[in-house]
Symmetry: C3
């Protein structure tokens, strides 16, 4: 593997663990049992990439080839039960890890779609699906309206990250620098959005259609 | 393209726009942000055909081949934010467009399944999935029990439309007339169902199983 | 078909009917109309196997090859409307049929993944998805937090059943005896879990992350 791939892979593992752990907290709020916690952790962490691959017809899925990913993400969720009190105090670290996850998953999704020779808009969509859909599945299974559709800049960060990465790659720039640039901009954007509570304007409509 | 295909294609574009716009109103009721509105619009408009293709293993998906469909449907949803007040007054037009969408999506779904040489029941199911599943995804993402399972005749209209189309095609009748007949009967059926509030009987059960 | 296959097939049919009928009761609690009842029955009964096949890229789906399965499961759900009062009195029989369904679906899922030469962990996951996901879809469409993630031992029974089956098969033991053993242990485990209200410990967490 070239060095960027090694770093991306290491960051992806960190991000999978972080996603599994935040999913566990959502499961705890719904009083799920331990098995449910592990399942929600695995679905949240791996659901974005799974959805991308099903939509693109890209088989076999990553966790089918590498079943230890299920143990990693489910195990991270279970571990969270033991350390839940500390987790709360580590809130800032989790927001950072989640931001890393968003950016790294997005770039991995783009890489896979590029390798399939998809068109540029679809490459960006593949990145966004990889980065964002896991959280949507978590919210649907917890019976919430997905946070993604309502909250601070999240999908937008994914689109910007993907657009930078895709532009750099299609200009044939050095892959390592393109990855580094996309990660840096995406991460900065997301952290600024959290810090200053940047939000998209909301659409509020309260008339009934039927 | 033969004339029927051109007309079906034009009606499908109108229907995609209408589905994106009605999804935007649902998003507004949940106070989603602009990005959420666009995503819900695209998912609602394209989700039925996507589900059909995933279930039948029919790749690549339509919007993967034609990414401008994402811009069309997401853009229609965003436009709705600007014109929401007028939209409310245009309620009747929207019900008509939605009915056209249901019937046209159903026929397109049947056409694709027929081209895959699926059995007749599966052709009808493919039509129903194409016509109805987008709205189910919209309702699940808005945290509602899908309207499809509870409300006026909608899935039934899709099944009747599909059955007429499939019967005509398997009798080797002229394809243009079959399409026209299925559209006419389906649309009339749906509009009468809205006008006279035709409903299926409901099943009400209030004992706990566990 | 060897005798075990015939018995498994017969049990699967019984289980599909049972799943369609219990789904109908859930639909009745949400006041769905008759069409919604039939659809929820078919989705619940066939959704686990469908999800497994989509995740593994195993086409065509079972009900696409055998569309009468849609009529069987949807019909069983509709029949439930007529016999709902009796169903309530037959509560114990339903719990038994549901337990048979869980165990039989699990083994069928394992068999299919084994025939695809999947790794052992994925075979067990394929069994669990086949046995459990139908109920998750039912709960999501009824706008509930999936029971699977919260309630008595259910997914665990599926994992134990799958693990026994897979171990036996990979030791090259006689297939009929392996199937019988897995069914016996899984069924006993599930019925004891119901009888003695065995539960996983729950994870309760009530702090907000954001």
């Amino acid at each position: 593997m070239p060095p960027t791939d090694t770093i991306l892979f290491a960051l992806a593992i960190v991000a999978l663990i972080a996603e599994g752990m935040t999913a566990a907290l959502a499961a705890g709020r719904r009083k799920m049992d331990w098995f449910g916690v592990a399942m929600l952790g695995a679905i949240t962490a791996l659901g974005g990439g799974t959805t991308r691959d099903v939509l693109l017809g890209h088989y076999p899925l990553w966790w089918v080839k590498e079943p230890w990913l299920l143990a990693l993400t489910g195990g991270a969720a279970l571990l969270t039960i033991a350390v839940a009190r500390v987790v709360h105090r580590l809130r800032l670290m989790f927001l950072l890890l989640d931001a890393i996850g968003l950016v790294v998953f997005t770039i991995i999704g783009c890489t896979i779609a590029l390798a399939m020779n998809q068109s540029l808009p679809i490459v960006i969509v593949a990145g966004m699906v990889t980065g964002c859909v896991g959280g949507v599945l978590r919210d649907v299974l917890c019976n919430d309206v997905p946070l993604l559709f309502r909250s601070e800049l999240y999908a937008s960060v994914s689109v910007v990250t993907g657009a930078i990465y895709v532009t750099g790659r299609s200009l044939d720039l050095d892959r390592d620098w393109v990855t580094l640039g996309a990660v840096a901009v995406g991460l900065t954007f997301r952290l600024l959005a959290i810090r200053y509570r940047w939000e998209m304007p909301k659409f509020v409509y309260d008339k009934e259609m039927h």
